[in-house]
Amino acid sequence: MAFIVRSGERSFRISPRLVESTEHEDHYLVLMDDSEHRLSVTRITPTHLSILLGNKSYNVEVERSGSDYRVTTRGEVFTFRVADEFLQSSEEASASGEAVITAPMPGLVVKILVSEGDEVRAGQGLLVLEAMKMQNEIPAPGSGTVREVPVQEGNTVMTGDILVVID
């Protein structure tokens, strides 16, 4: 089975195969793009893996959140979307062109700075979200027209809730 593992611009085709399982570790043969790697993998805690790639030692944390895998190693954090090779292509087809601005954190909508139909330019403030006692202005990721503002001042929002949709 092969997976397409993507983070931002980077994309890897990875096919892990378990070749041996001993009392202390699992041995994998991993085909990554065109090269083959031999790995020993063992779990220290549910999300904490110790990986030996050849003999290089890596501590890796893998946390799943929905379809994203957040992976940390030596203090660097990567967020990957992992898809089965076949599912991948259908998903790509459904992606649309609009920009959906979602709440990056839970918080309180203290002020909305734009209305439906407004023209906005990249970096312009859309609304102010209060979280952890700080007022955070949420900027437009690009220029466009505000199509929808499904929240109101005073609303409490959770991470991922849609705040503004820009065409």
Binding site: M1, F3, V5, S7, R10, F12, I14, S15, P16, L18, S21, H24, E25, D26, Y28, V30, M32, H37, L39, V41, T42, R43, I44, T45, P46, T47, H48, L49, I51, L53, N59, V60, E61, V62, E63, R64, Y69, V71, T72, T73, R74, G75, E76, V77, F78, F80, V82, D84, P104, M105, P106, G107, V110, V128, A131, M132, K133, M134, Q135, E137
Partner: protein
């Protein structure tokens, strides 16, 4: 002498634990207060006694002077320590303590009120002959007054809360068109944070260094400074990294700034621990900003280079004891750095909430951790995102930097995002390592990805995804995950506990 046998700590998180540790080492009992969602927090477990004083919003719990004082009396405390933040700079607390016959571990209400009002403090400094940054001497009454000040001083300017510090209620204004909305935001933040919406304005120095002097003053007229802290690594006026000593000071400048700090403390009739903040420009000129009339977040870097336990000294001073050392006894040994570990995204600095599911903390030579969290702790949106402070000591600055990098790599916090990756990049950045930096540094630090790390991470994600797919196909649910981990299986080798 005021004998202190039991202290109420009017705070939460890492600083509450820091203070309780000092109490425990001095044989003093400590009493925690907590909001109901903090029932499982570490400071409640750390204290000898704990009292719930209200619901989660701090305005109904940690900011309630009346409940703090009542609880101190009810639990038989002799004294109250405010920590930093919350009530630490509210003169109402020392006043209420005085009325109730409790010792307040900090300055008097009078000096606090003087210094807490940033405009009065600036006037005090001018009278004492300490240089200040140009700006308004009174709070702004409205946006028109702000516009007038801008006309006089020119742009950029800084809007600052008169009622408190910690980066809350601060805005930089570079264009006249942004003045109104910045003032509104700053006012709202200042009201929420300090219950005081007053904002004043000063000229914004481009990229100065932010250097502060730690001072201890007892009730017998002894005033000693414990050298400086370099606090220029800031984002949105929130300090991220502090160090001591500063690369920008030599012995001569340290003496001059230390002397200015002592003057400010004496002029404001200040006692207990305090910090005098200065801006230092590239020409070596320094300007008084304000006095932080409390224990600072970053006090540990000073403790590591001087060997002085500042919290214990605070308690001794409050007991009426004279300082056990004079200025000549203070010598600086090595170099110390602090990284603030916040529950925030390391790139966007947006807050992150969740439950700490795993925690592995750094240790070993020269490493000190001040942490408010433990496994199972829930990081909520109600309180400050600062969850821990990682501090290191080294024989010299380069050892301290190498050590901090090593300690950051060891630190594993699962369940939330933290600023650890930012700090790791900072410790490897040319700017920080050279010591040639100013308050513009955070924008300059880059976040390159290490090729081998992204590859290993991608492989790990694929392996775990493959395993989870196998589990799902096998009909097992997410809920049975922990149960599954109890078995030794074929497939990914599992933790067996």
């Amino acid at each position: 002498m005021n004998s202190i046998g039991k202290v109420l700590v009017a705070n939460r998180g890492e600083i509450a634990i820091r203070i309780m540790r000092a109490c425990r080492e001095m044989g003093i009992e400590s009493v925690a207060v907590y909001s109901d969602i903090d029932r499982t927090s570490r400071h409640v477990r750390y204290a000898d006694e704990a009292y719930c004083i209200g619901p989660a919003p701090s305005i109904e719990s940690y900011l309630r002077i009346d409940r703090v004082v009542e609880t101190a009396l009810e639990s038989g405390c002799d004294a109250v320590h405010p920590g930093y933040g919350f009530l630490a700079e509210n003169p109402g607390l020392p006043s209420a303590c005085l009325d109730a016959g409790l010792v307040f571990i900090g300055p008097s209400a009078r000096s606090m009120a003087l210094l807490g009002n940033k405009t009065q403090a600036r006037r005090m400094a001018v009278e004492a002959g300490i240089p200040i940054v140009p700006g308004t001497k009174e709070p702004l009454s409205d946006v028109r007054e702000a516009e007038k000040a801008v006309e006089e001083m020119g742009l950029p300017v800084l809007l600052k809360a008169a009622g408190g510090g910690g980066g809350k209620g601060v805005r930089i204004v570079r264009e006249a068109s942004g003045l109104r909305s910045s003032l509104e935001q700053a006012t709202a933040e200042a009201r929420a944070a300090f219950d005081n919406p007053d904002i004043y304005i000063e000229r914004y120095l481009e990229r100065p260094r932010h250097v502060e002097i730690q001072v201890l003053a007892d009730l017998h007229g002894n005033v000693v400074h414990l050298a400086e802290r370099e606090c220029s690594v800031q984002r949105r006026f929130q300090k991220l990294i502090e160090e001591a000593p500063s690369c920008a000071l030599d012995g001569e400048l340290r003496s001059r700034m230390g002397e200015a700090a002592r003057k400010a403390v004496i002029a404001s009739d200040y006692h207990n621990a305090g910090t005098v903040e200065f801006l230092l420009d590239s020409g070596g000129d320094f300007y008084f900003c304000e006095v932080n009339a409390r224990l600072q977040v970053e006090h540990p870097v000073t403790e590591l280079i001087t060997g002085v336990d500042i919290v214990k000294e605070q308690i001794r001073i409050a007991q009426g004891l004279p300082l056990s050392f004079s200025q000549e006894d203070i010598d600086i040994r090595g170099s110390a750095i602090e990284c603030r570990i916040c529950a925030e995204d390391p790139v966007s600095f947006l807050p992150s909430t969740g439950t700490i599911t795993e925690l592995e903390e750094p240790s070993g030579p020269g490493v000190r951790l001040e942490s408010g969290i433990s496994e199972g702790y829930k990081v909520s949106l109600y309180y400050d995102p600062l969850i821990a402070k990682l501090i290191v000591w080294g024989r010299d600055r380069s050892e301290a930097i190498a050590r901090m990098r090593r300690a950051l790599e060891e630190y594993r916090i699962k369940g939330i995002h933290t600023t650890i990756p930012f700090h790791l990049k900072a410790m490897q950045s040319v700017q920080f390592v050279s010591g040639e930096y100013d308050t513009g540094i955070v924008q300059e630090i880059e976040h390159p990805e290490t090729e081998i790390h992204i590859e290993i991470a991608a492989i790990a994600a694929a392996i775990v995804a493959g395993e989870e797919m196998a589990v799902e196909l096998g009909g097992e649910t997410e809920e049975s995950r922990w149960k599954m981990l109890g078995r030794v299986g074929n497939g990914l080798h599992r933790a067996k506990w």
